[in-house]
Each structure stands twice: as structure tokens, then as C-alpha cells.
Amino acid sequence: MDADRFGMLYDRYSAKVFQKCVGMTRDKDLSHDLTHDIFLKAFVGLAKFDHRSKFGTWLYSITYNYCLDHLRKTQRNRTSDVDEETGATDMAEDRYEIELLSLRADRLSTVLEALDPADRAMLLMKYQDELSIKDMMDVLVLSESAVKMRVLRARERALAKYHQLYREEP
């Protein structure tokens, strides 16, 4: 692929990639650099794109993983791995989901900022980008149960953080 044709891909996806980087890092200057690197990584890896998933999903996967790697390197506050083989319980899932989606937007923003980047990314993927479990499995290269468990744990930690930050509020 030549640079001009790659420019067409850039025009189509750059806003989404940039916005995803801003959402994950909360830093526009850093997102500028990350977006640059993500497109370069995509160009170099283009030959490996096997068309099993959509190009957008593949690029999303690079974006997600690159941002997360960067945040892990700089913040070094990765949460401990959870037991991913345990099945997620639907009842708990529903309860946490309803509570999370009823938060005020400004408070949710503060909570997300205080969360571990991996948890933040899981919640953005699920509730902002509305990726299906199948797409999340592709992006994260995880099993269905592992994806569900990570989302559940991210929700739990987000709500715990919310109650910690806004203890006086119901």
C-alpha cells in the first residue's frame, strides 16, 4: 500500500482513534503522539491483517492495546489479575450495570479518571463504544468468560471508587 492510499485510511479513522486515545489517557498532547504511533504501527502491521475481523475492529485493537501499554508503563498501577475462570453472575452484572449507568456524567468522568487504565478501558469499550462480547474477545484476545469477568470486576471497582469519592451521596 502506498502513502496516499494509507492517507485515505487515516482520514477515515483518525478522529475515532484520537478520541479513543483522549478517552483512555485524558491527555490531548499525549493522544497526538499515541495516534501517530498507532497509525504507524497499523501501517507496518497491515500485511498481517487477515480480514477475519473488520479493519475498524483491528485498528481498535491496536489502539486499545497501545494506549494501555503506554499507561501501564507510565503509571505502573496495574491491578492484580482477577480469577477469570470464575463465571460471571448475571444478577450482580445487572445490579452493577444499572447503578453505573445512573451515575451523573461529571462524577462518572472523575471516577473513570481515578480507575486503573485497564478497568477504564473495559468500561469505555462496553458502555461507550458498545462493543459486543465477540468484538471484545477479538480485541483483548480473551475467552468469553474472561471478558465478562473483566467487565464485571471493572464495574465493581468503578462503583467502589464512586462510593469512596462521593461517600455522602446516596
Binding site: D2, A3, F6, G7, Y10, D11, S14, A15, V17, F18, Q19, V22, G23, K28, S31, H32, T35, H36, F39, L40, F43, V44, L101, S102, L103, R104, A105, L108, S109, L112, L123, L124, Y127, Q128
Partner: protein, 74 residues
């Protein structure tokens, strides 16, 4: 039901204009580097084999195309 708060806080920032120039400049540089690297990592044995195979195929097709000499009517 209230609106999904995740949608409300979604970033609407657009990438700066100069980023496109930066990305495509870097892409051109990578393309150039890849071509240079290819000069050094090319497998000469394989390349030779390919050339020989192609030459061999064209030679055999030439011989296959060769029309038989006209028979002497006398």
C-alpha cells in the same frame, strides 16, 4: 430512562491538522527503510530459485510454442 453517561462524556476532539502530515511523512520514511532493509535480508538462494524457475518456465513455453517445420511436399 436517563441517557447513558458514558455517551455524554465521550470525547469529541478532532486530531490536529498537522498530525496527518506527520503520520504520512513517517509512513513514507518507513516505506523507504523497509525497501533498504529488503536489500539486506533478501534470501539470495530463494531469489535465484525464483529467477531460474521463471526462466525455465519461459524457456519451456518457448519450446512448446515452437511450430513444427513445414513438411517437405516433395
Amino acid at each position: 430512562m436517563s441517557e447513558n453517561p458514558f455517551k455524554i462524556i465521550r470525547s469529541t476532539d478532532l486530531p490536529p491538522d498537522n498530525l496527518r502530515t506527520d503520520v504520512l511523512g513517517s509512513v513514507k520514511m518507513v516505506m523507504l527503510l523497509m525497501r533498504v532493509v529488503q536489500l539486506f535480508v533478501a534470501d539470495p538462494g530463494s531469489a535465484l530459485f525464483e529467477n531460474v524457475r521463471i526462466l525455465g518456465r519461459s524457456a519451456s513455453s518457448r519450446s512448446g510454442d515452437r511450430t513444427p517445420p513445414p513438411s517437405d511436399p516433395t
